[in-house]
Symmetry: C2
Subunit: 343 residues, 2 copies
C-alpha cells in the first residue's frame, strides 16, 4: 500500500446547512506486531478433570501443556454468532446487509446501454416490501419508515431496472433501502447522480455501481473530539439513518469481461439537502477513503494497470433539466433528469 494521505471532506463541500464532516485519513506504514496470531487446532472435546494440575501460582516451574485445556471454538455448537453478511442476489442487484443497523453494507448493480433501453417494468406496479429472507428481529420494517420524515431511498435505483417487472420489483425490498432526506437529496441531487451513472453507458458498454450508507464522525467544536451521531427510526428504534452515502462506479471499457481498462470513481455525499449548483466533483474521494469508512473492499482484485480515474475520463458534473413538478410529485424517487457533460 502506497503512502497516502487522504482527505474525505465529505460535506465540507456542503454549503447546505448540513453538518460539516471532515474525515481525515492517513495511511502510513505500520510496524509489525510482535506475536503473530496462529490458528490452533484443538480437540473437539476437552478434558476438564483428567489433566494433572500444577499447584496454583507455580509460576516458577510451569508444567508442559500437551494440549489446550480450553476449546473456544466450541461456541460454534450454538451457531455462528456472525456477522452473517446475508449475501443476496436478485435480478437487479447483489447485496450484503448489516443486521445491527438494518441498512445494507452495499448494493451492487450492473447497467448497460441495452438494459437501460428495455422498458418492460413500471415502478407504479411495484410496492415496497420487507425482506422475508432475514430473521424477523433483524428486518427493517415498513412501519419503521412510516412518518419518520425520511424517504425509503433506493440504493439501486428503480429506474435502472426497467428491463423487467421482476427486476423492478426486486429493487423495492427494504434491504435495498436506506432512510434518505427527501427534498433536496433523494428527490433531487441524489437522483441527478443516479442519472449521471446511467448516462455513463453512453461512453462505457458496461457500468457497475456499488452504493451504500456511511456513518461518519464529525469533530465536536466544543471539545474537539470526533463523534459519530445518527438517528435511528422506528418505534422501538430499529433502522439507522446514514450520515452519508457512497457510490463507487466502474466504467468497464471492455464490457463485462475481466480485461480492459476500468474507469473508477468514488463519491461520498451527505444525507442532506444539496444545492444543484454543487459540482459532483466536489464529492469525489479516493476509493480507499470509502473503504476505510465502510470497512469494505471495492477493487482489490483490479490491478493498478487496468485502472483509470473516472473523473479524468468524463466531466463529473450533474446538469439539471427543468423539473416536471407534477411527475416529480407523483414519482418522487425518480427525481429530475440530468445530462452528463463530457470533458
Amino acid at each position: 500500500m502506497s503512502k497516502t494521505t487522504l482527505a474525505l471532506i465529505a460535506a465540507a463541500s456542503a454549503a447546505t446547512g448540513a453538518s460539516i464532516t471532515a474525515f481525515l485519513y492517513s495511511s502510513t506504514p505500520k510496524q509489525t506486531p510482535s506475536p503473530p496470531i496462529t490458528p490452533v487446532t484443538r480437540p473437539s472435546t476437552t478434558s476438564t478433570t483428567s489433566a494433572p494440575l500444577p499447584s496454583p501460582h507455580s509460576t516458577s516451574a510451569p508444567l508442559p501443556i500437551p494440549t489446550s485445556p480450553v476449546n473456544p471454538a466450541g461456541i460454534l455448537q450454538y451457531g455462528f454468532p456472525g456477522p452473517s453478511g446475508d449475501l443476496q442476489t436478485t435480478p437487479a442487484h447483489l447485496s450484503t446487509y448489516n443486521r445491527a443497523l438494518r441498512t445494507p453494507h452495499f448494493v451492487a448493480e450492473h447497467i448497460t446501454p441495452t438494459s437501460l433501453l428495455l422498458n418492460n417494468g413500471s415502478r407504479r406496479l411495484s410496492t415496497f416490501y420487507e425482506d422475508a429472507t432475514l430473521p424477523p428481529i433483524f428486518r427493517a420494517k415498513l412501519a419503521d419508515y412510516a412518518r419518520s420524515g425520511y424517504d425509503r431511498g433506493h440504493q439501486v435505483p428503480a429506474a435502472d431496472a426497467k428491463w423487467s417487472q421482476e427486476a423492478m420489483d426486486s429493487t423495492f425490498v427494504l434491504t435495498n433501502m436506506c432512510p434518505q432526506v427527501g427534498e433536496g437529496f433523494n428527490r433531487d441531487y441524489w437522483a441527478h447522480l443516479e442519472e449521471f451513472c446511467r448516462d455513463l453507458t453512453q461512453k462505457y458498454p458496461s457500468v457497475r455501481i456499488v452504493t451504500g450508507p456511511l456513518y461518519l464522525p464529525k469533530r465536536d467544536p466544543v471539545d474537539g473530539k470526533w463523534r459519530v451521531s445518527y438517528e435511528v427510526i422506528g418505534s422501538p428504534p430499529n433502522v439507522a439513518v446514514p450520515t452519508h452515502f457512497y457510490k463507487v462506479i466502474y466504467g468497464e471499457e471492455a464490457g463485462d469481461s475481466p480485461i480492459g481498462k476500468v474507469a473508477l470513481g468514488a463519491f461520498v455525499l451527505p444525507n442532506a439537502q444539496i444545492p444543484n449548483q454543487k459540482s459532483l466533483g466536489d464529492f469525489e474521494v479516493p476509493v480507499e477513503a470509502v473503504e476505510r469508512a465502510s470497512g469494505l473492499t471495492f477493487a482489490d482484485k483490479l490491478p493498478a494497470e487496468r485502472r483509470k480515474r473516472l473523473c479524468g475520463e468524463v466531466r463529473c458534473e450533474i446538469l439539471v433539466r427543468q423539473f416536471d413538478d407534477s411527475r416529480r410529485m407523483a414519482v418522487p424517487n425518480v427525481g429530475g433528469g440530468a445530462v452528463l457533460a463530457r470533458s
Copy 2:
C-alpha cells in the same frame, strides 16, 4: 418467534452520571412481504450489442426477455466487498471483527476449573500488539489508544488465559480490545463481572463467555428522537468507542459436550463508571435483546429444552473484596476480586 416485548434499559440502571439509554424492542409477527427474493443464475458474460432492442418506452408491448441483460454478480470479479468478518482463532479466543468500527463483533472464550488453575502465563510478560492479519487500513492501532483517555479494554480477560504464556499473549491483540472507561469501569465494575464469570466454574464444569461492544441509541430529550452517538479515537479518527458492552454467558452443566442443560445469562453494561453497589442483576437482559442490538445470534442451535436462566441458578451479584491499591495501580486491567454469592 414468540410475541415478546423486551426492554433493554441498559443504563437506566446507572445512577452513574452516565447517559441514560433506554432501548426498547418489541417483536410482533410480521406480515409476509409480497415478491420473494429469488436467486438468479446468469450467464457470466452478457451481450450488450446483439440483442434486439425494443423501441424506447414501448411499455404497451414488452418483448420477452430470454436472459437477463445484466450481471450484478459480476462485481465479484473485483473481489468480495464484504463484510469479511475476519474470523480468528487464537489459543484463548475465537472472534470476528468489525472493519468499519475497528472493534470486534464478538470475542468468545472458554474457561474451566482446570484452565483457571493452570498458572503458566503472566500478563507482565505480554505486550499489546496490532493485528497483522488485518489489512492495514482496517487495523486498530496502538497510537489510536494512546492519550485517548480510554483503557485498551480486553474483551477476553488476560486473567482467563493464565494457562499458557502463548494464550496470555494472544489476548493482547488489539482485535480483542475496545476503548473502555478505566476508573469505575474497566478497572472496577467490569473487572468484578469478569471475576463473577470465573467463579461460575465453581458450579459449572465448563463456562463460555461471549463479549463485545454495543452502540446503543438514546432518546434526545429535546426532540424526542433516538440517536446513536459515540466517540471515535485516533488521529485521524479510527477506533469507535462503544456506548455499552455485553456478555453472554453459557454455564454448561455437562461440560463441553453438546448435551445437558446450559444456563444462559446476558448482561449489558454502559461504558461508564458504575458504582460497586449496583446489582449485577440490574444489567441482565434477554439474550434476544443483545442479538437485536448487535446483529449477532448467540444460541439459535441451542434448543429451548436445554436452556436455563443463569440468574435463576446463581445469585447475579458481584461482591467486591478490599482493593489492594498498589497492585491495582500496577496491573490496572486485573481489577479487584469478586466473590460469587450463590442463591
